[in-house]
């Protein structure tokens, strides 16, 4: 299996605090790579570096295409999603609450629609070529809504959905930009066991059907152990373990980091 993402010697310092310390790991295509660790281990900081919200102090992050690789450091802000096709979700859900579910999914297809609407010119003239493109975008939204079973609520405000549905909607909204790498920040936080199981199913579907690499930060071990192909464990910004889910479960270092050392 080919590498999708390689993080090399990533270091992020905030003043005197080193949030990430010389971190290197790889994530592969069509795999779910989980990043776990106690609170404050630097997991979200890794995401913020990858998705261009922070500029790392040191180190490189590469996204591999067929034969070439692109450096994620070069892209900041919206270009990470637009050019490098790295999508993310947030620890605290960030939907557009006063907009409808369908509109949320259309905003994710903004850039294609913007070109199709001739930067609004064709759209204002209501040309057929724009209307067709818009219909395609709606069809894509419907495809994803069918998968998460929210089609009947497409016209309701996103803020009115139950919490679990909002989580799922945020994930499919990120999928609407057709990402190569999907970064999920605690997608199972606040979900009940039934909803967690549905989430696992959705993530497996994205992994196998959509050929998208997934990077996952998660505290819910039923999710992590159930679906991860590869686990990276962080503590105080350092990688302390890397391996499969089963290896992680039995690793001495990981147990020590979570439960403390026996005196």
């Amino acid at each position: 299996m080919s590498n999708l993402l390689s993080v090399e010697n990533l270091t992020m310092k905030f003043g005197g605090l080193t949030a990430i310390d010389d971190l290197s790991f790889d994530a592969k295509n069509n795999q779910i790579t989980s990043i776990i660790g106690p609170n404050g281990a630097g997991k979200t900081t890794v995401f913020n570096c990858l998705t261009g919200f922070y500029k790392p102090t040191n180190g490189q992050m590469f996204l591999h295409k067929e034969d070439s690789k692109i450096s994620l450091r070069k892209y900041t802000d919206f270009k990470i999603a637009y050019v490098a096709k790295v999508a993310r979700t947030f620890q605290n859900i960030r939907l557009f609450p006063a907009m409808s579910v369908l509109e949320n999914l259309l905003v994710a297809q903004h850039n294609e629609l913007m070109v199709a609407s001739g930067y609004s010119l064709f759209g204002l003239l209501n040309l057929k070529r724009y209307r067709d493109k818009e219909q395609l975008a709606v069809d894509k939204a419907k495809y994803w809504l069918d998968i998460i079973g929210l089609t009947h609520r497409a016209d309701d405000n996103a803020g009115d959905l139950p919490y679990g549905d909002q989580r799922k909607l945020e994930i499919v909204r990120a999928m609407c930009i057709e990402p190569r790498l999907l970064c999920l920040d605690e997608p199972a936080a606040g979900l009940n066991p039934k909803e967690s199981a549905e989430l696992n199913k959705l993530l497996k579907f994205i992994k196998t059907e959509k050929q998208t690499g997934i990077l996952l930060i998660e505290h819910d071990m039923s999710v992590v152990m159930g679906i991860s192909d590869h686990v990276v464990v962080l503590n105080y910004g350092k990688k302390i373990f890397e391996g499969t889910a089963d290896q992680t479960k039995n690793s001495k270092e990981v147990i020590e980091a979570y439960l403390g050392v026996d005196e």
């Binding site: 939907l95 409808s100 903004h110 913007m114």
Partner: protein
């Protein structure tokens, strides 16, 4: 309702009266009159007691009303009726409104004064619709919108007086200039949000006004620009006796000369301009850029994570909002035939923002209702001179009490999957 409640609300009303007395006593009660050699204080206790009495009575009635069961509350019944009518029949309302606006100049009771007020209200509606793009859709609180109004007015005035070009050429130019200033303001404030953005835009509005006052060589400073050409009816001027080789409007159509012709023409001009603004906004709201504006208002970080370019999105909102402000400005210049920096003070920006916020952020019909309500009430109380601002403030308070989210607060999605149910 129990007796205890009544006694309680009576006590509460008396306390309200006390506060009213403390406020009105010195403000209204002691009036200074300048007579010959000095300033004298004339007490007006009668007026004070009347006002205090009104406050006590009003408070008592409000208390009694709120003590009743919810379904009998007068105000909630009134306000729910009002919102039902406007929400369900927004389209009917819009069509009736436009029809009424079209026939308005020919109604029997319409006189010069009504026409002037109507033109003023329409100007504010247009400004409100323009600002609605920036504040209502993109969520960028702009307290200096009057700057674009001023840029539009001065561009029109300067081009028209210097080059003598016609209104129809100057109008788009004024819009382009205003849009350019919109982008100029947009760049430095890209990173700002909320309160900080409001302060900078407020400063921008003042900067433009102060430049207009001090750049004497170009803008003629505080004296303003006079003799701005009036618009013509497709080349036919509204003059009693046209120049040699020219035909004027009333001669061409074989009508008796009347100054009302020009007023009616101006009325239709601003009506059309305002409707174009409205049509454009309704259209663009349903396009990707419009959705991006609203998404930006909802959550900028989420927008970035989806690849929406916040810089371009904000700048287009500023530029398009400013452009309509510029159109309205050039209309203002041609109507008045005289402009000076006096007309572009902060209070204008405040009124426009108030119209947008009170109308319900992002609601086009709300802007119309709020303009009619605010400007209409202020005009109705014009005889009270400086006290009419109390009526303006009172109108705002009334809307905020009964409609805290604005007159029409509900937002309709821009696109439906299952069809529009209503």
């Amino acid at each position: 309702m129990e007796k205890k409640d009544i006694i309680q609300s009576f006590k509460d009303s008396l306390f309200t009266g006390l506060i009213a007395l403390a406020l009105f006593g010195p403000i209204v009660g002691l009036r200074t009159v300048s007579k010959g050699e000095g300033l004298f204080i004339t007490p007006q206790w009668g007026v004070v007691f009347l006002l205090v009495g009104l406050c006590i009575l009003g408070r008592f009635l409000i208390n009694i009303n709120s003590a009743r069961r919810t379904e009998f509350k007068i105000f909630s019944i009134l306000s729910s009726k009002f919102s039902n009518v406007t929400e369900d029949k927004a389209k009917h309302f819009a069509i009736t409104g436009i029809l009424f606006a079209v026939v308005f100049p020919f109604l029997p009771f319409t006189d010069r004064y009504f026409m002037d007020v109507a033109i003023m209200i329409l100007t504010y509606i247009m400004l409100g619709w323009g600002l609605n793009i920036v504040v209502g859709l993109a969520g960028l609180l702009d307290l200096g919108y009057v700057a674009f109004y001023a840029v539009g007015a001065y561009s029109y005035a300067l081009i028209a007086t210097t080059f003598g070009w016609s209104f129809w050429i100057c109008l788009p130019l004024a819009g382009v200039f205003a849009a350019f200033f919109g982008i100029l303001l947009g760049f430095p404030v890209l990173r700002l949000r909320g309160d900080y953005l409001a302060i900078v835009t407020l400063g921008f509005g003042e900067i433009i006004r102060i430049i207009l006052i001090n750049w004497y060589e170009v803008t003629n400073g505080p004296d303003g620009i006079t003799g701005i050409p009036r618009p013509s009816f497709f080349g036919l001027p509204f003059k009693r006796s046209p120049d040699e080789g020219e035909t004027s409007f009333h001669l061409f159509f074989n009508l008796e000369y009347s100054t009302m012709h020009r007023i009616i023409f101006l009325y239709y001009l601003i009506l059309v301009l305002a409707l174009i603004t409205n049509y454009f906004t309704l259209k663009i709201r349903k396009l990707p850029v419009g959705r991006a504006w609203e998404a930006l208002r909802e959550d900028e970080i989420a927008c970035k994570s989806l690849g929406v370019n916040p810089t371009n999105t904000k700048l287009t909102a500023f530029a398009i909002g400013a452009m309509f402000g510029g159109f309205a400005g050039s209309f203002f210049a041609t109507r008045q035939a005289f402009i000076s920096p006096e007309s572009f003070t902060f209070i204008e920006s405040a009124i426009i923002v108030a119209i947008v916020v009170l109308g319900g952020m992002g609601s086009q019909t709300g802007v119309v209702l709020a303009s009619i309500f605010l400007i209409g009430i202020t005009e109705m109380f014009r005889d009270l001179e400086q006290y009419r601002m109390i009526a303006f403030g009172g109108a705002m308070v009334l809307i905020m009490v009964f409609k805290p989210k604005g007159i029409l607060a509900n937002r309709k999605p821009t696109i439906f999957m299952h069809g529009d149910k209503k």
